[in-house]
């Protein structure tokens, strides 16, 4: 068990990071902090997927002089580039919503907003 965990330390780390993020999303009262939790979760998942492509002693998959096998799997990195774009747009949308909520209600604390409702 312990050994399996040790061998997959990168995966375990991303799972822990994911849980930290989820905890923040659920427990934080401040909308911005909630969203920071979400960003932590995103990072965790991205890190996990990028780590999938790692090959021991692998080289960057760039063709040219001195490129030699084995290469690191480039596909996860390509995917995560897309993933990051999605994450950025989600963050932008969320932040713009938070700004508008703050302008209209004067607060971004979830409990105060619930009272104002």
């Amino acid at each position: 068990m312990i050994e399996a965990l040790w061998n997959n330390l990168d995966y375990a780390a991303s799972v822990i990071l994911f849980c930290i993020g989820l905890y923040a999303v659920i427990t934080r009262n401040n909308l911005i902090k909630k969203f920071m939790g979400l960003n932590i979760m995103e990072t965790a998942v991205f890190a996990f997927i990028v780590a999938l492509g790692v090959v021991e002693n692998g080289d960057a998959p760039i063709m040219g002089d001195g490129a030699s096998a084995p290469f690191i799997n480039p596909l996860p990195q390509a995917l995560i580039l897309t993933g990051i774009v999605v994450a950025v747009s989600t963050t932008a949308l969320a932040l713009s919503l938070v700004i508008r909520i703050w302008r209209q209600c004067g607060t971004i604390e979830a409990d105060e907003l619930r009272e104002a409702e």
């Binding site: 997927i49 999938l52 996860p76 949308l93 508008r100």
Partner: protein, 496 residues
């Protein structure tokens, strides 16, 4: 190959480009952006018809982007489940047509072009989700439709709308990440992202990560589908959004969660690598609880759109219960209900939108006696109400019939009971609604006279109401699509 294969790619590119160009072609009144959106959606609908004709003639087919052969390239795949693009196109088109007079009243003029952009993006996301054969693209399209949905909920700019949108966004983003995590795990296990390819490689992989992957995917799609207890984002978001958006959200967007689960099931059943009975049991129970709970809360709502939103939760419960029971009857019933509920709920939400647009009232108390001044709209809503309760010969009947039969077939009469009594509860609410429309005196006699809704609102609502009836009488039509798909779903890939 008789028809032109890149049509499948063009089918996604046209609405996507159309969406982006909407603000460019728009004028100050927003009228031209409406025309543009209608045009784009009509073209897309026409293409969807040709695609469906082809799947009927030739069976499932696919197109690989950039000429890379699957499993390496990005594959678009069109099978019987993909025939649901027809309903997406139809509802999308009708919602856009409906928006002509609705949008200017609900939104500020400068937001109107963006409203159509978001709506088109949302529809593109759904179309892509349905036809993609690639797991990562499944995630990307989920995000396209989710992000546009969050923005659409907030677009009216009201305080409550923005808060509902934020709640929706947080839950939606968490679920998307869960889906992405599941996709990543599957990739780690199989080294492939093509769904068909993943299915064939799943057998023999490590058990624990596999369970985790399916759990993450299911959990993510459960949030998207608003299944109890992950439904809390839905009532506010669906009730506060502009009515055409509510129709699209309730009719289609939540169904993406269901279709996602179907995709997961396709892989799980197909590979036979994982025992789903535990998941099935959980889904069945959660579905049953959703049915009763959604219906129960709906009974106590005075706000007509809030009630419709809770009724969506209840109906999602029917579908998920049908999936969970996993007998061929219940799967057929659940799949048909995905289509029919979309029609019915769109009828109701657009009808409610017409009432709200004409009267400015959204509570049953405020809408008392409206049946006398808006007879066509209320008649259409009544047909929708009868359908959603599931009274023959309307569209809702056959699905519930099949799901109940499935419950009995699986030897679980308790779920048939839950189904029938959920329907009964919903019936009570709709009786309240009809009561208010027809049998109560208008609240204050001095209010200005209310007129029937303009044609761009009335016609979509009436078309949908007519479809609710037609799909009931021609109940066999969707079955002809779904039966082969369900049969294929239940037979493992290798076996006959």
């Amino acid at each position: 190959m008789t028809s032109w294969s890149p049509l499948l790619a063009l089918f996604l590119v046209i609405p996507l480009v159309g969406a982006v160009l909407t603000p460019v072609v728009s004028d100050s009144s927003g009228r031209r952006s409406w025309g543009w959106a209608v045009f784009i959606m009509s073209v897309t609908s026409a293409m969807s018809v040709s695609l469906i004709v082809r799947v009927l003639e030739e069976g499932p087919f696919s197109y690989v982007i950039g000429g890379w052969v699957a499993p390496y390239g990005i594959e678009l795949r069109f099978d019987e489940f993909s025939a649901s693009v027809a309903i997406v196109c139809l509802l999308g088109l009708l919602a856009i047509v409906f928006s002509r007079h609705y949008a200017p009243q609900a939104l500020t003029p400068e937001r109107i072009p963006y409203y159509y952009t978001l709506l088109l993006l949302n529809l593109t996301g759904m179309l892509g989700f349905i036809v993609t054969g690639d797991l990562f693209n499944l995630y990307v399209f989920t995000e396209i439709l989710s992000l546009s949905a969050y923005a659409l909920v907030a677009i009216s700019g009201e305080k409550t709308a923005e808060m509902a949108a934020f709640k929706y966004l947080v839950m939606g983003a968490v679920s998307s990440l869960s889906i992405l995590f599941g996709v990543g795990l599957l990739y780690a296990l199989t080294g492939s992202l093509n769904m068909a390819d993943v299915t064939s490689r799943l057998a023999g992989t490590a058990h624990a990560p596999l369970v985790m992957a399916f759990a993450a995917l299911t959990l993510g799609f459960m949030v998207k589908a608003a299944l109890f207890p992950l439904h809390i984002w839905l009532p506010d978001a669906h009730a506060i959004a502009p009515s055409p958006v509510s129709a699209v959200l309730s009719g289609l967007v939540v169904k993406i969660g269901i279709l996602g689960m179907l995709r997961v099931y396709q892989m799980a059943y197909g590979s036979g690598a994982i025992d789903l009975s535990g998941l099935n049991l959980t889904l069945t129970w959660l579905g049953a609880i959703s049915i009763v709970m959604g219906a129960f809360f709906a009974v106590f709502q005075d706000d007509i759109k809030m009630m419709l939103a809770y009724s969506t939760i209840s109906n999602i419960g029917y579908i998920v219960m049908g999936l969970g029971l996993a007998s061929s009857y219940s799967l057929i019933g659940a799949s048909v209900h995905v289509f029919n509920h979309a029609l019915i709920k769109a009828t109701l939400f657009l009808g409610a939108g017409a009432l709200i647009h004409q009267t400015g009232q959204r509570t049953l108390t405020g809408l008392a006696g409206i049946g006398r001044s808006m007879p066509f709209t209320t008649a259409a809503i009544s047909i929708g109400a009868i359908s959603i309760v599931g009274i023959p010969p309307t569209a809702g009947f056959l699905c519930k019939w099949y799901i109940a039969l499935g419950a009995l077939e699986a030897g679980e009469p308790i779920f048939a009971v839950a189904l029938v009594f959920g329907a009964l509860l919903i019936f009570i609410y709709y009786i309240r609604m009809v009561n208010a429309f027809y049998f109560r005196k208008p609240q204050d006699a001095g209010a200005p006279a209310v007129h029937e809704a303009p044609l761009t609102m009335l016609v979509p609502v009436l078309i949908l109401a007519a479809l609710c009836l037609i799909m009931g009488i021609l109940g066999r039509l969707p079955l002809s699509f779904i039966e082969p798909a369900v049969t294929r779903l239940l037979t493992p890939l290798g076996g006959g």
